[in-house]
């Protein structure tokens, strides 16, 4: 009786195990095939640019000035305080009185040391206070400068921004920018083709030496001449710079998709 129950339990375990295996296998198949049928859109490389769109440019003269980014911005330091001229840090005032009233050797030396330490501490305190004031003033001036120009130029300035997420590392960005620049510099069309509004997509595969060793049209333009000019551009652009180690494997296997023109 006991053996019969044990056998039944073993059968049930096998059944559950079989069911679990089938369920996992089905899930794996669905995920694998789903990825092929609905491929994820590859990341589109675009330089991220942050534009301040708080308001339209103010109708002020400053707002209309064009800031030349190549000209270094002069730092606005606070005016030196006439009442408190800076003193050289390493030149404390000589202690004439104490030196004049010199006492016997041991005590005198002890007192002199104590007085000197006291003075040093006072001077140090004074110096720190001065530095703090100077730093505060500097900070205040920088803040005022920032506010002044920010206010005047809102909506008129851009900055490079930063990666939007962790996928695009600096190395990747730099290499992709190199490829884009290289392809663009060789990308030209005759007038009669440019007016046609043709578009093509090509995946290029880059080996560790930077050679485009394979290409694959994922979308042809419908005009053989246009497609020939695309291929000619790739030919002229190869070899590219060798890809960084972080990317080499991916570029060799997955490649990079190029959109001609957009």
């Amino acid at each position: 009786m006991y053996q019969l129950a044990e056998g039944k339990q073993a059968n049930e375990e096998r059944r559950y195990l079989g069911f679990s295996l089938i369920a996992h296998t089905t899930l794996l198949v669905v995920l694998s095939i789903g990825g092929v049928i609905f491929p994820a859109k590859p990341l589109e490389f675009k330089s991220t640019v942050q534009v301040d769109l708080v308001a339209l440019p103010d109708q002020t003269k400053v707002a209309n000035q064009v800031i030349d980014p190549t000209v270094p911005v002069k730092e606005i330091a606070p005016e030196p305080d006439a009442a408190e001229p800076d003193e050289p840090e390493d030149a404390p005032e000589p202690l004439k009185k104490e030196v004049a009233k010199a006492k016997p050797a041991k005590d005198a030396a002890k007192e002199a040391k104590s007085a000197l330490d006291k003075l040093k501490a006072e001077i140090e305190k004074e110096r720190k206070a001065k530095n703090q004031t100077l730093a505060d003033k500097k900070k205040q001036a920088a803040k005022e400068f920032e506010e002044r120009y920010r206010t005047a130029l809102k909506g008129n300035q851009t900055n490079q921004g930063s990666s939007t997420d962790g996928v695009m590392e600096t190395v990747t960005n730099a290499y992709v920018a190199h490829i884009a620049e290289r392809i663009r510099s060789n990308w030209s069309l005759p007038t009669w083709l440019r007016q046609g509004g043709y578009r093509a997509k090509v995946i290029i595969y880059i080996d560790s030496r930077g050679q485009i060793y394979k290409h694959l049209f994922t979308q042809r333009s419908g005009n053989e001449n246009f497609d020939d000019y695309v291929l000619s551009t790739l030919k002229k652009s190869s070899p590219l710079a060798p890809p960084p180690a972080e990317l080499a494997k991916d570029l060799q296997r997955g490649g990079m998709e190029l959109l001609f023109p957009l």
């Binding site: 590859p42 030209s188 190029l258 959109l259």
Partner: protein, 437 residues
């Protein structure tokens, strides 16, 4: 059972689906820079060409394609190929010999001159890939060698751009080289001029029938009562016969065929004031389209035949107007300048060209059919008048006295091409570009 499951898992994991690689990054390359296509056109291999006819056909083709502003030809001094050994048919030469010197297309041919004319087999290849773009055989008598070159140029232009070239079309114009203004036709490049009339009179305003078989024109001739009048005629290019279409009192001039060739829009002044009429060339019945205090002249059809551009001085100065083909919806298009005249509606339908008086001279302008997008094509080069579009809507012909006498010049809507096509032919004016053929 267990072994089977393990096998199944192994197969699934090693399947191409599981490891299907996708591109990591997608980059938009952006708009391409614009340039001319570079063609290498080595001499056509001729087994016999004593009169140089094959060479002439090649030269004409090069001239046409270079004139289009779309192509540049490689200097033969740069050619690497040994042309005695290399062939012209697919696979009989190395395309790398051409792509390596910067050629984008290679045009090759072979031919011979026979007793009756020339025969040429021409091939166009994409240099980098070696792909054959076009191949065609040409045969013609010695009197049509230039036409072979023009036809080859048209065919290459069409094979690459899908647009019909104007290189075999003709130009009708008026010249006073005999002392009287007579009607002539010539090739688009100024070759083969042919005098059509000998009226010893004042001939003006020619216009082509859409099928290219007739040219209407006006001439000052005597009527039955021995009175000189501006009468309207049609010249049949096949028969040389001239038909009188209208001799109503006063002006019968500036006629233009409708795109279907059934009607003529023409200026007539028999009511006492120059107005635009629709004339049926078969029945000679005229139907009045305009009715204004000022004069209405120089009609030009839109390519769909639904509208007409014309000149009217109803605002006090001659300006360009347009109206429906039944005279309705009259709309003023130009407001600038002192005197705007001779509108010509592009066969592409997207532009109207006209001559405008500015700074003491007439110059050529183009604009959109609604009057916007006004652009100047000539400046500071004498008087430039009578623009007329080529059948492709890209080139325009006009007359100019920039060198003293009036000569005919060709430009394009991009204003990148300027070419004089008449020389020492008296004063040439009223050019009209014939249909593509």
């Amino acid at each position: 059972m267990k072994t089977k499951l393990i096998l199944l898992l192994a197969v699934l994991l090693s399947s191409p689906f599981a490891y299907a690689d996708k591109p990591l990054i997608s980059v938009a390359v952006g708009e391409a820079r614009v340039k001319k296509s570079i063609i290498a056109f080595p001499p056509v291999k001729a087994t016999s060409d004593p009169q140089g006819a094959i060479r002439q056909a090649r030269d004409v083709c090069i001239e046409d394609l270079a004139f289009s502003g779309l192509f540049d030809f490689l200097d033969p001094a740069a050619f690497l190929e040994d042309q005695n050994k290399a062939g012209v048919t697919p696979g009989s030469f190395k395309t790398s010999d051409w792509s390596s010197i910067g050629a984008e297309f290679v045009l090759k041919g072979q031919g011979k001159a026979t007793a009756s004319g020339v025969e040429m087999d021409m091939y166009l290849y994409q240099a980098a890939s070696g792909r054959q773009v076009f191949a065609k055989k040409y045969q013609a008598g010695f009197d049509a060698v230039r036409k072979v070159g023009h036809t080859l140029a048209n065919d290459i232009l069409f094979a690459l751009t899908g647009k019909k070239g104007p290189f075999t079309s003709k130009i009708a114009f008026v010249s006073d080289r005999t002392g009287k203004k007579e009607l002539y036709v010539m090739d688009y490049d100024g070759h083969n001029p042919l005098k059509l009339t000998a009226n010893h009179s004042l001939t003006m305003s020619p216009a082509w029938a859409p099928n290219g078989r007739k040219i209407v024109f006006s001439s000052v001739t005597k009527n039955r009562k021995n009175v000189r009048n501006h009468n309207l005629y049609a010249y049949d290019l096949n028969t040389g016969k001239v038909d009188l279409l209208s001799n109503k009192q006063g002006i019968n001039s500036g006629a233009v065929y409708s795109p279907d060739g059934d009607k003529l829009a023409v200026t007539m002044s028999f009511p006492g004031n120059a107005e635009i009429f629709l004339l049926d060339p078969a029945s000679k019945v005229a139907q009045r389209l305009t009715n204004a205090y000022g004069m209405d002249v120089d009609p030009s059809w839109s390519p769909d035949g639904k509208q007409l551009a014309f000149v009217s001085d109803r605002p006090g100065r001659p300006m360009i107007y347009k109206m429906g083909a039944d005279g309705s919806n009259v709309t003023r298009l130009t407001f600038a300048g002192q005197y705007n005249a001779t509108p010509s509606w592009s066969p592409a339908g997207n532009k109207i060209a006209f001559a405008g008086w500015d700074e003491g001279h007439f110059d050529i302008f183009i604009m959109n059919p609604d009057g916007s997008g006004l652009e100047r094509l000539t400046k500071g080069m004498g008087n430039n008048e009578d623009p007329d579009f080529a059948p492709d809507g890209y080139f325009l012909i006009y007359s100019s006295n920039r060198m003293g006498k009036k000569n005919l010049y060709i430009t394009n809507v991009d204003n990148t091409v300027h070419r004089r096509i008449t020389t020492n032919f008296g004063n040439c004016e009223s050019p009209r570009w014939g249909p593509a053929n």
